[in-house]
């Protein structure tokens, strides 16, 4: 299993898109998540959300919901990925990301 620490990407996760500012959700997805999924597979990834200053919902939606929009992962793989999320500091983040994945799956189907 490969663990990705979001705090290694940025202590201050930023906005939704790259053009809005640094450390965006889009940047995290394209630079960190997608290469890791391609290398290790969605089922072998643990994403640790702890250690940052916080997350805007746009960042989370773009980073994780965007995986489904870009068809990088299937809805099943996305739910495995969410199952491997670690957020001890704020467990509600996992539910929130699960909701975004579910919304995106509904929209995509």
């Amino acid at each position: 299993m490969k663990t990705i620490f979001v705090k290694a990407f940025s202590e201050f996760p930023g906005p939704r898109y790259r053009n809005l500012g640094p450390s965006s959700g889009q940047e995290f997805r394209e630079e960190i998540l997608i290469p890791a999924i391609k290398q290790y597979g969605a089922h072998k990834l643990i994403i640790n959300l702890d250690g940052t200053c916080g997350y805007g919902s746009s960042f989370l939606e773009e980073a994780f919901g965007g995986l489904l929009r870009d068809r990088v992962v299937t809805p099943e793989e996305a739910s495995v990925l969410v199952g491997n999320l670690v957020s001890e500091e704020d467990p509600s983040l996992v539910d929130e990301i699960r909701e975004y994945i579910a919304d995106e799956s509904t929209r995509g189907s």
Partner: protein, 372 residues
């Protein structure tokens, strides 16, 4: 001829002439001095002439009277800075500067200083106040100006003033992109006692508000006739009267202008009907915007930020959210808050006479709830 032998009449006549000569001389010399002084004064006035902008007694947006005066002051400032080489800002009557009013003022001034770098500023400092109990001197207003960086901005020397704990914790910053590090560091700096949970909640609201500024606030130039293309946002964090205050400000077109362009008409109409509003005023459109969770029909995944901006109210009973945008003002607070007296409505809208030509989002959270 000896002196004592002069006839008395002749002596009187000579004395009289001498007396009148001395009077004439003194008058004449006085005239010359006065004329010279007047000339000098006029010359000085000619080279030191400046347009004066008088700040109101309270730079504040919280009540209608101060709101109007503050907006007028800022409009006057824009007009004078854009048309004159020298501007003097007079704080002779200013006794109070509040968070939202102060941030709007510094944002306006920052924008003008950047757009007109050759304008020279001077200032008449706020009066020294005396506290009502012991009559001690208080430099709070000037200290606020120091803290919000007013003097640095216009290139004047800051005075060494006593430190006021309620003022020295104020921090502000600005940016043109949604940089989380700026917001995060401001929150880290203002109160080291903030728990990790509190910081995360405040950060969430702030980063979404800043993203909204960058994404939506500047679709076109600000309609103030100056033609300045400045797409920055400003943020303030401080403690005032036992409350943590976080403000995010932009000088864009305002929420009432962006709502009809960014959202489908039928959705806005449905919300207006649901809220029993007509949608004719800015404050009503701000109220509607807080319920518009989706940005556009074709981009349903977007528009999560509005939720984050209101979310803070769910966690803290005494928290308040205030949104000023153009002429509108929208206030919201935790609906579960127990009230001793009359029931407080969940949200309140308040239309003002004049437009701030921009948007300020302000959260206040009681410190005792943050440290709990």
């Amino acid at each position: 001829m000896k002196k004592n032998k002069i006839r008395k009449e002749l002596k009187l006549s000579i004395d009289g002439k001498r007396h009148w000569r001395s009077i004439r001389k003194s008058v004449l010399s006085g005239n010359i001095t006065r004329r010279a002084h007047r000339k000098k004064r006029q010359q000085l006035r000619g080279c030191q002439w400046h347009a004066e902008v008088k700040a109101p007694p309270k730079i504040s947006l919280y009540d209608p009277r101060n709101h109007e005066k503050t907006v007028e002051f800022l409009r006057d400032l824009r007009a004078k800075v854009s048309r004159n080489a020298k501007v003097r800002i007079c704080f002779r009557d200013t006794r109070q500067i509040t968070a939202a009013g102060g941030l709007l003022f510094i944002a306006e001034l920052d924008r003008l200083v950047t757009a007109y770098p050759n304008v020279k500023f001077s200032c008449i400092r706020p009066p020294v106040q005396h506290d009502s109990k012991y009559g001690n001197e208080s430099f709070v207003t000037e200290s606020v100006l120091n803290q919000i960086g007013f003097f640095k901005l216009i290139g004047l020397q800051e005075k060494n003033l006593p430190s006021y704990p309620n003022v020295s914790c104020w921090r502000h910053s600005q940016g043109s992109v949604a940089e989380g590090a700026i917001a995060g560091q401001l929150l880290n700096h203002v109160n080291e006692q903030l728990s990790s949970h509190d910081k995360k909640r405040l950060y969430r609201g702030a980063i979404e508000a800043i993203s909204n500024c960058v994404d939506h606030a500047y679709p076109s130039l600000r309609p103030d006739g100056l033609g300045i293309n400045d797409r920055r946002w400003w943020m303030f964090v401080g403690i005032m009267m036992g409350k943590l205050v976080v403000c995010v400000c932009d000088l864009g077109v305002g929420i009432p202008a962006t709502v009809p362009k960014k959202h489908p008409k039928d959705r806005i109409k449905a919300l207006l009907e649901w809220l029993n509003l007509k949608g004719t005023s800015d404050s009503e459109l701000i109220h509607v915007s807080t319920y518009l969770s989706k940005s556009r029909t074709e981009q349903k995944h977007r528009g999560k930020g509005g939720k984050d901006i209101r979310e803070l109210l769910q966690y803290y009973q005494g928290a308040r959210l205030t949104i000023f945008s153009n002429k509108g003002c929208f206030r919201d607070w935790n609906s579960d808050k127990p009230t001793a007296g009359e029931p407080i409505p969940m949200a309140m809208i308040d239309e003002q006479k004049k437009s701030i030509q921009g948007t300020i989002i302000e959260w206040t959270v009681p410190l005792e709830e943050l440290s709990a």
